[in-house]
Subunit: 317 residues, 2 copies
């Protein structure tokens, strides 16, 4: 199909927006937005065959590519506003592009985000989304604000996305509801944007769980110049993962599996009630799993005894 | 080499910045900048083997990836300020990454742009840069502001980059100074940022010449709801291209070859003196090559007679 870049963009990616701060949208050399104050800016790339299976449904690829960026905004306590898309495609498969656009733009609409620009190129399937969010007067949640003695929390449940990815890769997997739910956690993660915004002024440090809890909490530790102890029995595990996997496998996914896009954050013990209140308002479950300690790195404990997990999270190279 | 993403980023991409509006740089879930007013936002992707030869020197790949984005800012009349980098690499070749970073960051420094974030992933070589520029009180230069009767101008010279790419692909090419200069026009294009800023309030429409003059002027025509006539004998051709290629080949490259990253813009005839003055101040050569007319599309003329070029510019799909 000899459809050019410009026709594809116009047909599938240009949608009306009621964003009053969007002064010029898709179609010129750049978009123009109106901003006032601090902005959070992030970019995340998904490579087919590396970050997701080559046969991922196009709608899920679009959803996921934006969701991981919304999650970065959540981890900063920012309100996501505008995104751009750099989409590299092996060919101009219009059905794929249409479904991909539906997945991305459907999620964008739910979060009040406008797609303001992009670049469509030919090559191996690579999806890079950049996102811009507003912080207004809120100080951003960074990785560096943790203090020794702060509690360590995670939102939602951990390990589901890694379990779901394992099920996706296992063609013999049963299509029972628990399996479908876990696969959906990988395909369509829920970015914790409302939770992140509610935690500004409450949490001392935050990160989203993309590479795995141990790796990501490790980043908070490194940036905050301390260590962490977590109690493995406090890991929040879903009924779905526990119904399909043995406890030790579920824990393994919860500690080392990435892609959950929950928030891991720290807060002073005196903020415990504020943490509960903030996340109740945001409609987001939360669990305290440990605390920051002197030293470096993340130590896991079970029944008060040191416990050595088999691996320490995703490394990009 | 088992160097992780975080070490590579820290080692090669993190440099000190004296940007007072950069509140939080590389290393967290997002960067944080302070903005006030209209912002221009653009993204451009370069795919190895599609947009540049696979054996392009790493330094030139880094230079070019930023230059094409700076050029988008130039075409809007914006001042480029911050960029992010989504870099997908087949392997963690530290020498390549180091040279790439030098190329990108060296150019960034020359233009006062800070690299504020990025994502380093494994996969086929793909470089996507997003850029954010400030417009302050200036109205952006868009593609849509042209009027019938406006003059059509281009900065610099056209065709050099396409000629340079042809020389790069021709291993028998002589290493004489003109050839080296043309190859450099492809490898290290000069974004016309100062010219773009000087043209705000003077030009009626603008675009950068990335896909080829006919294609890009065609975008101005489509957005401005008019046509254009250009005089082929007025095309600005460099001494270098004329020394190595016959006139008809040079014209062919100037009309259809992309990658020059000059500006093509329109202005009312009454603005002719202001155009000259603005670009003299910016130190940028300019040539009037035609004017906007009623109708659609771009018509080429030679000696007042219609002239049909062999092709109409780069199509991404």
């Amino acid at each position: 199909m000899a459809t050019g870049e410009f026709e594809l963009i116009a047909r599938y990616f240009e949608r009306p927006s009621d964003d009053r701060d969007l002064l010029l949208g898709i179609g010129d050399d750049a978009a123009v937005v109106r901003a006032d104050g601090a902005l959070a800016v992030a970019v995340d790339t998904l490579v087919a065959g590396v970050h997701f299976p080559l046969d991922l449904p196009a709608e899920a690829a679009g959803f996921r590519a934006l969701a991981v960026n919304l999650s970065d905004m959540a981890a900063m306590g920012a309100e996501p506003r505008w995104c751009t898309l750099a989409l590299t495609l092996p060919d101009a498969d219009e059905a794929w592009v249409s479904e991909f656009a539906d997945g991305l733009l459907g999620l964008a609409e739910r979060y009040g985000v406008a797609l303001i620009g992009g670049d469509l190129t030919r090559g191996p399937l690579t999806i890079s989304v950049q996102i811009i969010g507003t912080l207004a007067d809120a100080a951003p949640l960074t990785r560096a604000g943790g203090h020794i003695g702060d509690d360590v929390y995670v939102t939602g449940t951990l390990g589901d996305a890694a379990a779901g990815l394992a099920l996706l890769n296992d063609t013999a997997a049963a299509d029972e509801p628990a399996g479908i739910a876990l696969k959906d956690r990988f395909l369509r993660p829920t970015p914790r944007v409302a939770a992140g915004r509610a935690l500004t002024g409450v949490a001392s440090a935050a990160i989203d769980v993309s590479d795995g809890l141990l790796a990501d909490l490790g980043h908070i530790c490194a940036a905050s110049d301390c260590g962490a102890q977590i109690d493995v029995e406090h890991l929040p595990l879903s009924a779905e993962i526990l119904s399909l996997f043995p406890l030790n496998v579920a824990e393994f996914y919860a500690l080392g599996g990435g892609d959950d896009y929950e928030l891991c954050f720290t807060a002073a013990p005196a903020q415990a009630a504020s943490v509960e209140a903030a996340l109740r308002t945001a409609g987001c479950p939360v669990r305290r799993i440990g605390h920051l300690v002197a030293g470096t790195g993340v130590e896991c404990r079970r029944d008060g005894q040191r416990f050595a997990p088999a691996f320490a999270g995703y490394t990009h190279f």
